[in-house]
Every structure is written in C-alpha cells, then in structure tokens.
Amino acid sequence: MTATTTPLQSLSQSSIHHTRLRHANQLKIMVVLLLLLIGAFLLSLATGSVTIPLDQIITILTGGEATRTTWITIVLDFRLPKALTALLAGAALAVGGLQMQTLFRNPLAEPYVLGINAGASLGVALIVLTVGGTGTMLLAGIGLLGDMGIAAAAFIGSAAALLIVLTAAARVQSVTTLLILGLMFGFAVSAVVSLLLYFSIAERVQAYINWTFGSFGGVTWSQMPIFALMIIVGLISAVVLTKPLNALLLGEHYARSLGVDIRKARMGIVLSTALLTGSVTAFCGPIGFIGIAVPHLCRSLLHTSDHRILTPAAILLGGIVALLADLVAQMPGGQVVLPLNAVTALLGAPIIIALILRRRSLRTAFAS
C-alpha cells in the first residue's frame, strides 16, 4: 500500500515512536539499577569492622576456600543474612509505600499509615516492658530468647492491627476514611506504648528503644526462610495488583468505571502492604523513610506513574537504598554502629526535599 501519509497519521507514528524511545530509556535505567543493586550487595558483604577483598567475597559465595577461614564465617554467618535482609526489607518497604501512595492518592502516604507499625510496636512494648521479673532477668531473657521473641511479639501485634484495618477496609465507603482510621489507630496505640514506657524501668525502656532504632542484623539463617517467603509473597501480590493500581491512579470512582472490583483491589493492596511492612517491622524494627522516599525517587527517575515499571523499580531501588543506609550506619572501618532509622532519615530527607523543589510541585499545587 502506497497511501500518502496524512499529517494525522504521521503524528500518531511519532507518538508511537516517542513511546518506544521512552520504554527503551526506562529499560536502560532498570538495568543500571540492577547493576547498582548487585554492587551495593557485594559492597555490604565486603565492608564492616573488617574489610574483605571483593575477589575473596566471590570465592566464598561460590563455595570456595578463602585465604582466611574467619572471613568465611564473617561473610556467610553475619554479612550475607544481613545484606539479604536489607535487600528484602528495602524492597518490601518501597513497594508497600508505593501501594499506599497510589491507594490513598497521597504523596505523603507510607507503609505505616495502616497502623501495622503501631500494632507491632505495641506487641514489642508489651513483651519487653512487662514480661520477666527484674531488669537484669529481662535483659538476660532477651539474650536467651534471641530476637525471635521480639519478632514474634511484633508479628502478633502487626497481625492484630492488620485484622482491624482489613475489617475497616471492607466496611468503609471512602478510602480517605480508611486513611484517617489508620492514623487514629496509630496515635491511640502509640499512646498506650507511651503509658507502658512511662511506668517501666530504665533498662526495659532502653531495650524497647533499641528495637525502635531498627536493624537488619537480627535475622538469623533459621528465620530467613520465613522472612524471605513472606516478603516474596507480598512482592508477588503487588505485581499481580499492577492493573488495579494503575486504574487507582485516577481515583476509586474511575477505577471502578474501568472494571476494577474496588473492594477486592482495596483488600488485596492492604493485605499485600501489611504482609510486606508487618514482616519488616517484626524482624527489623520500624524502619522509616525508605517507604516514603523510594517511590518518589522512582517516579522522578523514570518519569512515569505506571506500576508495570514503578513496582520493579521500587524493588530494585528499595534494596539499593536499604543496603547503602546500612553501609553508612556501619561506619566502615569504625567500631560504632549508628541507629539505622537515623541514617535513613538523614539520607532520605534531603533527597525528598530536593526532588520536590525541582519537580515544581509547589507551582502545580497552586495552579489547580
């Protein structure tokens, strides 16, 4: 067919061309993110109180013999589970945050708005602050129980909060109501924790506060399968929810008119986010900022709101950010370990501020 190209046809061609270019560009960025993730992962295995050369790391990971046997123990028993935990937790928090920002159509939403975190902290507070006789016994008890006791308490707390949120999600009409309920639930639970803290002795308070600092170092190999399984199930469900999430960018009314079963989608998103953040909080403590910052980073990096791209990007970038935050907290070469939460916030806040100022969000806020 030798039909002449009308201006309209050529326009549509150019638009398809633009779309292709954009996709190629996005693919490039994803590949770069993947490489960065691998780099950050290896770096976190190599650095710490002892620096281990990269070639030795690879030898150890592939089952070979390292020049020093202690290095094998350090890498396999301490740094590898920690790096895996950071990777999974970062991915989980980023995807959880992305889902919440889309569901609530609110750029300030984060994985913890559902009150899951508050539930977990109450569980931990109850265990740490009330169980056991004296302070010394308690501290010994924590050592004996390992962090498993705390993880279990946090998990039970998360699950209880989740049940409450899910019941609400099924009943309430508007998603804004759900957001407010989640926030209020969080405040109320925090108040109970404050009361528990107020009436507790100093050692116990300190133990609780240590938990709130957050750490990727608490997951042992025996706990890893549970932790990894829950995160992976959560991530897969987030991928499955891609289409309704994209429709929800237009709000619940439009999403429904596009054929989305709103109630199902809402439950799915809440369940997925709760699984992701509940697991992280249970095993690593309440880790802030990754969940709110990474989705924004992904959007501005990839110039899209499409969850087919954003969800995998959030997984990669969430892992990178968590690994880097942990690296900084380790203070390579030093013996001091900084609270992880302080690091994520100190690194994250300037990034978000810079992004928001650059994205002219202020202008659009006044234009509409």
Binding site: K243, A247, S257, L258, G259
Partner: protein
Amino acid sequence: MNTPILHTHQLTIGYRPSRRQQVLVCPAINAMLYPGELVCLIGPNGAGKSTLMRTLAGMQAPLEGTVRLGEDEVRDLPPRELARRLSLVLTERIDAAGMRAIELVALGRQPYTSWIGDLSAHDEQVVQHALRQVGAEELADRMLDELSDGERQKVMIARALAQEPVVMLLDEPTAFLDLPRRAEIMTMLRRLARDTGRAILLSTHDLELALRSADRIWLLPKGGPLQTGAPEDLVLSGAFEQAFRSEGVQFDSYTGSFHMRTTAAGVIDLHGSGLPAIWTTRALERAGFCVAPGGQGSPLRVELHGEHAETRWHLHKAGEVQLFESVNGLLVALKKM
C-alpha cells in the same frame, strides 16, 4: 424508532443515609437512551442530576426500579463487563503526577487487556483512534499536569471512548471551560454520538448550549418528575420555564435564555437597529429598564446613530439631548438620574 440502549423502569433515586432512613430524590423515572443520540440532562441545582448519573452508572443503588443496559440490569453486571458497555467522565480532577495523555487514554483499554494490562496492537489502534476522534493527537505525549482544562477534558473523553462502550455518561463535562471551549466540546460530543452510534448522556448547567446541541433533553425539576423530549418541545410546553422558575431569574421562551428579573426602573424608547441595538437593549435591561422599541409616551428615548464602532448614543430627556460614545457612558448617565 430503534430499540433503546439504556432504559430505566420506574427508577426511584435517592440515598440511604442509614439502614432505616431513606432520602427520596426523584421517583418513578422512565427514560431511554437511543443509539447515536446526544442527550443533555439539565435541571436546577439540587434536583439530583449527579444522583441520577451515579445511579445510571451503577455506582449507587436505586431505591426502587431498574436501570437496564440492553437486557441486563446495570447493578448485576460484573465490573469488567459493565466497563465494556458504559464509560464515564466525572467532575473530579485527575492529578496523577507523571502520567502522559496517551497513558491515560490507554487506561480506557483496561476492560479488555490481560492481567498486567499490556496493550495489543488492536488496543494501540483504538487508543490512537480515540485521540484522533477528539482531536487530541498532538497532546499524546504531553504530561497531564501540563494540559489546560479544555485539553484535559478532551483526553478524558478520549479515555472514555477507548473503552468502546455503548453508552457514555458525562457529568458536567463543560463545567470548568470557557465559552468557546464549551461549544467545541459539545459540538464534538454530538459528532461523536452520531459517528460512533453511541448514546451520550451529559449533565450540564449550560442551558443555552444544551438547547442548541442536544438531540433530546432530560429535564429534571426539583422533586421530579423527569421529563424528556426534544429541546424545542420542552420549551413550547412550558416545562422549561416551570423547572427553572425561581426568584430573580426568568426563562425567556423567545430567546431560550435566562434573564435577570429586575424591578423596572422605567421604560425607555429605543430607536435603532442591528447589532448595536441588540447589545444596547441588553445593557438597558440589565440596568433595570424596560425597553420598548418605538414605545410611545416614554419620557426617556435613546437613539442610535452611526454604524458599529462609530455608533453614538443620543439620550433624549425632557427636550434635552445628551451624546455618548459608549454604552457605559449611557448607563452611567442613566444611573445618575
């Protein structure tokens, strides 16, 4: 006449604020939408236009009666099936940061795409065609937050078209637009209805435009009943005047427009013709005068001299003549009297 695409049977719309209470908005609506027609839903504020739209779209349960799309009841259709037959343009503003116009239109293919939402070649064609139909092809790669209200509305309509529905419902699609844009959107919708054989129902406050553009009107007075018919029939039957009767405003069945009802400040005898006379009449009426062309015995007389931009206004009063170069000058002088 051909068979209706959508029809309501004894549809009673309203709310249930709680289990025991119900608030009735409008009872016993029996109305139909036919293929290829543009129907405007009009009615005073608070009559329940939005409630009716939501009920038709299956977003709100009726208190009684049914809404049928072909043979099927809207409330019984699975969401995906409903989305293939009925699409919406709502008043709520979309601000999805980082979304392009073409991506928004592509979301209209969701009822047809796979679980992840990838577009087939056919889907891409439908999206391009929808953009072309609303004349928004050049907007395809623009970010949504860069679009003007009018452009955005076109893209929203393209998205609704991409769903390839049999019925499109639009809730006040012209609300935020300036007058030329309103006329453009209305003309476009009428063409779309005709070209695609879809039924388009839109609610609007813009009566004059509705009267000129709609194939039929659904007129919803406060408390009902809903009346339907060609715009002209509803004007001639007086239904219009009745539905919009309120203090201060009056529907003029001669011009099809609304007038402020003001207390007469006096009668003015206007001499002149053409455009200047029409606009002078409007100005004088706004100022509260009753204009009687060639009226006798009035102490005030305005004469128009000259053509268009050169028009001069002569005000005769008690033998005196004042000359003005603008309508505004005339009005100011009249106000002082």
